[in-house]
Symmetry: C2
Subunit: 280 residues, 2 copies
């Protein structure tokens, strides 16, 4: 798999890159962003993954979160994937809805036609992309953390739950806490996986925890002025699942913050320091 | 003049707003962004203006520069105007070029038809918008700084030179240093002002300095990997003008940085601290 450099810019003494390559999993050209901190000139560095939310590409977090400043200080590589396959022939929501199809891969492997061919974001993020990063970049994959926002918070937590021991730290901003119990999630799971709800549980943080998966700890920030809080995100369900399972959850309700990148930018430094502490 | 709030988000303990109002100068609905730091809950705060470059609106700096973190810490209000009038009936470059018309107001008052009616960004920024900010926001306009990027660096420096004593600090990222001597500037000045080059000098930092205008000091960052450095930006001309006039110029050539917001984000904290020191 040959990486093509789409863009490259100096940033906080490190390098911000966008790469593109032909993914076998999705059958498309996939882009991802990588921030290489200055410390990587001399050694491999730990990796923190950031999974983005609905409608985003690899660009939103990269240009809006202000994460590079702290990643450069802490010596963390940031890997930011796109949120779905894209390109000619990739099916999209028939009504052009923002919450299904392009920009809405939900970090799962679809099993229903016509989605199953390209919508393989789970295997892409869990298997293919880590191998590519290990092979191509100065990354120490024995030290990884994962975080995400909204749909990407769901992605980060479920991927960590399904891969015990892989991530030293897991955190999320305003995650979708239980896709099987919210409209965004139900639409996606039904569309990509079909009506058998047993198959949905492997893509639901709370169900995975109820079924025995564990994390050493979990940090979540949630704005109290987030429009999606009550209907879609439902952090109280994650609180309950973690409490029942004895998973130490730090859930910070941030007064007055909404669902935007202004919220993420405000607290990204806390999250990166949390990850760095676990990775050092 | 009634301000309409277009958007509002909590950010670093302060508030990031986008406003819209009917400008008399431009004859259009003008948007601008304002970051109100937490200190403004209890008192008026100093104001730093940021003028953006070609193709930008008020949004680019607001979402990409990461300025709110430091502005919140230092108690600075940030005011970020749009770069041109916009809307139905506002003329644009006949070829749709990015460097003239919409997004390319060059911070001047046009005198040539059809531009003269709406393209009044000089009067808008120098006179109308400050009055609106003073009347509507918790701003202390006895303490102001101004900065900008590229075309906005040109705007910041020329506005400061034409308004001696108004700004305690002036700085720029990769400014267009002498519009009368670069293709971007020549196209804009000819198009908006006509062929009489004497009229151009009031919109040229170097010419204003040569003609006697002064600044107490000037901070400029310029990336050495900036694609526009040699043909359009020409910092050596500003260096020469400042040297001849005895204006203390700190010109930092930043190795490997380009013209992007990754460059601005890397050094915005330095600039804001420079402004805060002068404003305190």
């Amino acid at each position: 798999m040959a990486l093509e450099t789409v863009s490259r810019a100096r940033c906080f003494g490190g390098t911000q890159l966008t790469y593109r390559y032909a993914s076998i999993e999705t059958g498309t050209l996939m882009r991802f962003a990588a921030f290489i901190p200055p410390q990587a000139e001399h050694r491999t560095v730990p990796v923190v993954w950031f999974l983005s939310g609905l409608t985003c590409t690899e660009e939103n977090f990269t240009v809006k979160a202000g994460a590079q400043r702290v990643a450069a200080e802490l010596g963390l590589m940031l890997i930011v994937p796109d949120t779905s396959p894209r390109g000619e022939g990739v099916p999209d929501d028939p009504d052009g809805a923002y919450d299904f199809g392009l920009g809405a891969g939900f970090y799962l492997d679809a099993t229903i036609a016509p989605w199953a061919r390209n919508y393989r974001m789970r295997s892409y993020i869990e298997t293919e992309l880590p191998a590519l990063v290990a092979e191509s970049l100065p990354a120490d994959l024995s030290r990884q953390g994962i975080m995400g926002h909204s749909m990407g918070g769901h992605g980060a937590i479920t991927i960590a739950l399904r891969n015990p021991g892989r991530f030293a730290a897991v955190s999320a901003f305003a995650p979708i806490c239980s896709p099987i119990r919210c409209p965004w999630g139900q639409k996606a799971l039904l569309g990509y996986l079909g009506p058998d709800r047993a198959a949905w549980r492997t893509y639901d943080s709370c169900a995975l925890i109820d079924d025995g998966a564990r994390l050493p700890s979990l940090l979540v920030d949630q704005g109290t002025a987030d429009n999606f809080l009550q209907e879609q995100l439902r952090p109280e369900l994650l609180e309950e699942a973690c409490r029942n399972a004895g998973i130490p959850l730090t859930l910070r309700r941030q007064e007055g913050y909404d669902h935007s990148y202004f919220f993420i930018a405000t607290f990204i430094a806390d999250h990166l320091r949390h990850h760095a502490a676990a990775l050092s």
